[in-house]
């Protein structure tokens, strides 16, 4: 890694932290901030607006902090059998068994398409863990035998963000879509140790690496217009161009194309994103 890359990495980290901090801060004084007298004004209409072009520093990256209820589609592999829900679902709530999954994604906006948006590759990672009790085989209650499943879904996607509405028409919405390759590590623990089954061929450990694909679509709500002066300051001081709240639909199919465990999901994601 050369000095330039090191510098870029350091700058990226600084910008990301500063941007996320600002994104979180801007949410609290939304209304009050919008009426501050020193906010930029559109002199033709007299209304408070945010001018992308006037205040923009160079923009190359996007970073997302992501939060999702993750329900792995393990049971999709079977016709009728529901080993995942049996182990980790809640019978009182009709089983299921989703768990909170935090994640992060970093995009490199290689291409800016004039009057449309940005396009570039992105890498993302999530974390999922679900624990449960392995019930007694004889059907009696009272088992304290824990077992769990953790999944580390990762992906490399092409990201298209259509920001023309926000940039040209002052509509603070940025629709986007992502598609690409996905892979995931997973492991199931049985009373704290890797679950295993003895077979005629040897020991079968409950862990694996699955591959597949995924599609995501969502919309980002532009926060800059709510706190224009803070946005200008953040851009000037840390190079953070935009901050967003976003919601996304996430579909992934990660079962090694039919030869492994289905650890993909169909869920929604919410989070905070910045461009810098």
């Amino acid at each position: 890694m050369n000095a330039a890359m090191l510098g870029m990495s350091s700058s990226l980290k600084k910008r990301t932290i500063a941007g996320l901090a600002w994104g979180a801060t801007v949410l609290s004084p939304l209304v009050g901030e919008a009426h501050q007298s020193d906010a930029p004004h559109d002199h033709t209409s007299g209304e408070i607006t945010y001018d992308f072009e006037r205040h923009a520093s160079p923009q190359r990256w996007a970073f997302e902090l992501r939060f999702a209820p993750y329900l792995p589609r393990v049971d999709d592999e079977f016709d009728g059998a529901t080993p995942y829900q049996d182990a980790f679902g809640d019978a009182d709530e009709g089983k299921k068994g989703s768990a909170f999954s935090p994640g992060a994604q970093l995009d490199y906006q290689v291409l800016r398409i004039p009057y449309f948006g940005t396009l570039g590759p992105g890498l993302g990672i999530h974390w999922f863990r679900k624990g449960g009790i392995a019930e007694f085989e004889d059907g009696t209650s009272g088992s304290a035998h824990t077992n769990s499943l953790w999944i580390l879904p990762m992906y490399g996607v092409a990201v298209l963000r259509v920001d023309v509405l926000a940039r040209q028409f002052h509509v603070p919405l940025v629709p986007y879509a992502k598609a690409g390759f996905a892979w995931a590590l997973w492991e199931s623990l049985d009373a704290g140790k890797v679950s295993r089954i003895e077979t005629a061929e040897g020991t079968d450990k409950a862990r694996g690496l699955e591959t597949g694909y995924q599609l995501q679509a969502g919309v980002m709500f532009h926060l800059n217009p709510l706190a224009p002066q803070a946005a200008v300051n953040m851009d000037a001081s840390a190079g953070v161009n935009n901050a967003y709240l976003f919601g996304e639909l996430w579909y992934s199919d990660i079962n090694s194309f039919g030869s492994g465990m289905q650890v993909g999901t169909r869920t929604w994601v919410a989070g905070l994103a910045i461009e810098f």
Partner: protein
């Protein structure tokens, strides 16, 4: 020549007359760190304070007092204290005494006069003419004399010397090693690096026990007011229900064996004396058992320090003072166990047995068993790449190839 002869004669006379006094003045005794050792069958590491006398050291010591004739080969597998001081300048008739106290100055003849709790004689040799004498001391002697306890075997019902002291706090000991001539100390050295620690750490309470597949899961709490500062871990005990002691004289048993749920037993009847032919002591039977759960066994007794026999049923350990969870594994499914837990401290002292719970491990169906049982194709390890298909490897390789190609094209461009 005459002059020289006179000189030699004078020198010889002076030497004969003055030698004892010179020797007396020069008698010395030293004891370096390597000259003190407590020899045990199971050595303790440096973290386990090997120079401290624990309750187990007391139990493992010879039941007989050591005499001045005791030799290493006589003490066998027992635990003993061995001191090897370096002595010089002594003469025939000098001898060595070792006194122990909890802080009192035993070099003061008044403190030694009563051989009381303040200063106790634990060793006396016949001669002190050897340069490096080996002094063997019985830890049980030290414990007994430090507390004026009844020497085992005591009267019926009298607690064992080592057992009786389990509630005593740690006592830093001072060993005084004297070279004596008559009743006069002509040289001395002290050893202060040994502490007597027989204190049993408190038993965990609020025991929460759960069963699993060949496993039993323990969770517990300890009242912070009772928690011992030198607790270093916990020992889990699992005794199959119905197991009875082969030692005889057992405490009466409590309630019936229960499968699954707890059974609160009633106080047991007085136990019968053991069968001498099986090695048991045919002495008086045990006292009536306390009310509580026993699961039909008499190896573990709530509130008592685990016996040597109970150690055979050690089914797991949990290390660390703050640990509150532990798991016993490799148990037999569909067997009811009486389980309990005891704390242990840095020198290996065991605390008393906690409440006893009856529990039965049973086979469970884990997620992975359910998954594979339903025909699931995944698993086998991170390197198996999507079950047996290997397509994941193909895709990952393809991805790496594309990335490499793009990078090369950009470099050349």
């Amino acid at each position: 020549m005459k002059k020289l002869l006179r000189l030699l004669l004078t020198g010889a006379v002076l030497w004969i007359v003055g030698a004892p006094n010179i020797a007396s003045a020069q008698a010395t005794i030293t004891l370096v760190n390597t000259g003190f050792e407590i020899t045990r069958e199971d050595e303790r590491s440096s973290n386990e304070f090997p120079l401290y006398i624990s309750r187990q050291d007391c139990f493992d010591a010879s039941p007989n007092r050591f005499t001045k004739e005791s030799k290493k080969e006589d003490v066998g597998d027992y635990t003993w204290i061995e001191m090897v001081p370096t002595v010089s300048g002594t003469q025939n008739g000098d001898y060595i005494q070792v006194w122990v106290s909890g802080g009192t100055d035993c070099s003061d003849a008044e403190n030694r006069a009563t051989n009381s709790q303040d200063c106790s004689l634990v060793y006396r040799s016949d001669q002190a003419t050897t340069r490096n004498p080996t002094l063997l001391i019985n830890p049980r002697d030290v414990v007994e004399r430090a507390h004026l306890l009844v020497y085992e075997p005591g009267p019926a019902g009298q607690p064992d010397t080592c057992e009786a002291d389990r509630n005593q706090q740690q006592i830093p000991l001072t060993f005084f090693i004297f070279v004596m001539r008559g009743t006069t100390i002509i040289a001395q050295v002290t050893w202060t690096q040994t502490t007597m620690d027989l204190l049993a750490p408190p038993a965990p309470d609020e025991l929460d026990i759960g069963a699993g597949d060949e496993s039993i899961f323990f969770e517990w709490e300890i009242d912070s007011a009772n928690e011992s500062s030198d607790t270093t871990g916990f020992t889990l005990y699992c005794v199959p229900a119905g197991t009875t002691s082969s030692m005889g004289g057992a405490t009466g048993t409590g309630g019936d064996v229960s499968t699954g749920g707890d059974t609160t037993g009633v106080g047991g009847t007085t136990g019968s004396g053991g069968d001498a032919s099986t090695g048991g002591d045919a002495a008086a039977g045990g006292e009536g058992g306390a009310a509580g759960v026993t699961c039909g066994q008499d190896i573990l007794i709530e509130g008592e320090i685990p016996s040597e026999e109970a150690e055979q049923y050690d089914c797991g350990t949990a290390t660390g003072r703050g640990t509150r969870k532990g798991t016993a594994t490799d148990l037999t499914n569909y067997t009811v166990y009486a389980v309990a837990i005891a704390s242990s401290d840095s020198v290996g002292n065991s605390g008393v047995v906690s409440e006893i719970v009856c529990v039965e491990p049973k086979e469970v169906t884990t997620f992975y068993e359910g998954y594979k049982g339903a025909g699931g194709k995944g698993g086998g390890g991170f390197c198996s790449m999507g079950g047996r298909g290997g397509s994941s490897l193909l895709w990952l390789g393809l991805g790496a190839l594309v990335a490499y190609t793009v990078r090369r094209r950009r470099t050349f461009a």
